[in-house]
Point group: C2
Chain length 381, copies 2
Amino acid sequence: MSIPAPLDPSERLLCGPGPTNVTPAVLEAMQLPMLGHLDPDFHDLILDLVALARHAYRASEAALVLPLQATGTSGMETGLVNLLEPGDVAIVGVSGFFGKRIAEIARLTGAEVVEVEAQLGEHVPNERLLEALDANPRARLLAVVHAETSTGARHPLAELGAAVRDRDVLLMADCVTSLGGVELEFDGWDVDFAYSCTQKCLGAPPGMSPVAVSERAMERVRSRTTPVPFSFDLLRLEDYWIKRPIVYHHTCPILHIYALHAALRGALVEGLEERWARHAEAGAYLQNAIRARGMELLAEPDYQLAPLTAVCVPEGVDGKTVQTRLLREHGIEIGGGLGPGAPPIWRIGLMGDNASIVTADRVLAALDAVLADEPVLSGVG
Amino acid sequence: MSIPAPLDPSERLLCGPGPTNVTPAVLEAMQLPMLGHLDPDFHDLILDLVALARHAYRASEAALVLPLQATGTSGMETGLVNLLEPGDVAIVGVSGFFGKRIAEIARLTGAEVVEVEAQLGEHVPNERLLEALDANPRARLLAVVHAETSTGARHPLAELGAAVRDRDVLLMADCVTSLGGVELEFDGWDVDFAYSCTQKCLGAPPGMSPVAVSERAMERVRSRTTPVPFSFDLLRLEDYWIKRPIVYHHTCPILHIYALHAALRGALVEGLEERWARHAEAGAYLQNAIRARGMELLAEPDYQLAPLTAVCVPEGVDGKTVQTRLLREHGIEIGGGLGPGAPPIWRIGLMGDNASIVTADRVLAALDAVLADEPVLSGVG
């Protein structure tokens, strides 16, 4: 075959739904000397990393926290295949692409899935989830999306956790777009399984999925009678990551572990609450500026996420063309709608280092420039 | 919590069973500007990467080649969960840890597994695998380990492929320690599913598993009637990696993709056969030097792998202490035996850039220095 040229990717300001630009200190960490995954020094480093991830989740020592080599979706699947067995009932709140995906993967486990739906951009009201629980007393799992990356809507997870605390059901939450950028209290909110990713509010490259698992969720895992795929088996993964001497399971992604260590350490140095506040400020600034331009947001105002803003494409504007021009003329990536049923939206992410007024202003200026000479196809602009 | 210090790992010469030291050009590629995974420029890059991986496997255009975000073990599991359904019969050649693992994961799929065993360090003779096929005419999968990382033994895969070519059984091969370092002809040897990793002979960091799947294996996948875990589903993964416009499946590990692109491109610039020859020369040099010192190798001489040499720890020597001293006094990592049933061995890897006489000499000099003053516990030294 002919030899392709060396890679020469262009600079991008990554303001889509993720990945975001990698924090410089995180990139630097990936250039440090690589230890072997069975090196005793590396084992110490992993335990530090677990402690850092535990802190980011606000999870207690009783919870199992693991930085899995996985995509966010594989983190989701890890939870579902460990917590559900064939014939179990799972209740899933669905008002976007990722709620729908939870339901889809839950069905693959052989579970019976009850979807409680709401409109895109809305959250699924907790009362309706509780009604579904009342109607399905056998339900073993209740799953919601804390931060719906496809719409920018936040689920009132604290209130849901308090409401189901005394029920015999496990609470699972998709925290892919919230961990490190939005208030999240794994223990305080009585969550049983949470999963996230590294490439959004944490500012690391994509490649890992930090998960947190409560003690009662692990009891459920220990009492299952049907097998779990080897790669996703939380009991084996606990042996590999936590127990000493280590039990070989796989070779973990060492440079991604360095990256996540640096990213989480950076979040801790900044302060978790300060980091949430920075994301909140940048998101609110962008959202106000978008509304001031006469454009509408997809999410309910009271449940609008800060790191991810879904903007309704103004009528008559070709959203995809605007996205392409932002990329090609301004080097700025923003996202479009996700999946075949998505309405015409732009998804703008201000995550990690990009959660700043400066970045918001760069996106707004580029959007203004493109919209100023973009033909409007019909009457409204 | 108290803030841990920034990472400060020591320099290591990584000469265990993997990971190996990352090639400098590969590390440099990981510092290039990060594109989003839905960026049109990134899609071109992925197709280049697939072409490079296809070349490394010597796979034709008819084969599906995917650089999965997965460990080597997850690459193994991807093959097994796609190619086996509950009740299928799988025949697995087992003469080491990874053959045993194939059998274990195959059982998790609900398949009936026939293990054909040989001693550690030997290969499972093809005649015995063919006898097992004759005795199990319903067998749908025959799996062997091309390069058994736990013992350093090579399976005669070319001959096996020729022998089963006309049978209605799929041939799967673990190529974790062979891809890029040992002769391997996916198409020429009629392999149906091969998986590997990035951190051994390719000289990239751990984090991905390039796999190759034959057309007839994909026909099998398309005709299954039971579901596959979402993250491992080859039909969904094919849609994500290959088809355009892209169908969203997950966010792929962008910097690892840069790394693998640079690693495979480097292998192509060097020349695949030249690279195999370099590994062969370095391995043979090390093995001759070990034998010249009166030590024995675990693998059968005619089936000894070049990249991985398992050395029998001389009687009376504490193998683990020697490993620790090599690490602490010389900054050199070598491996020990893998798993509870392993004999006392050292596993020395000369892979990627470390497949050189210079590296072999460094390891030998350090080993000589440590053994010179290491107390011998009993008579033999």
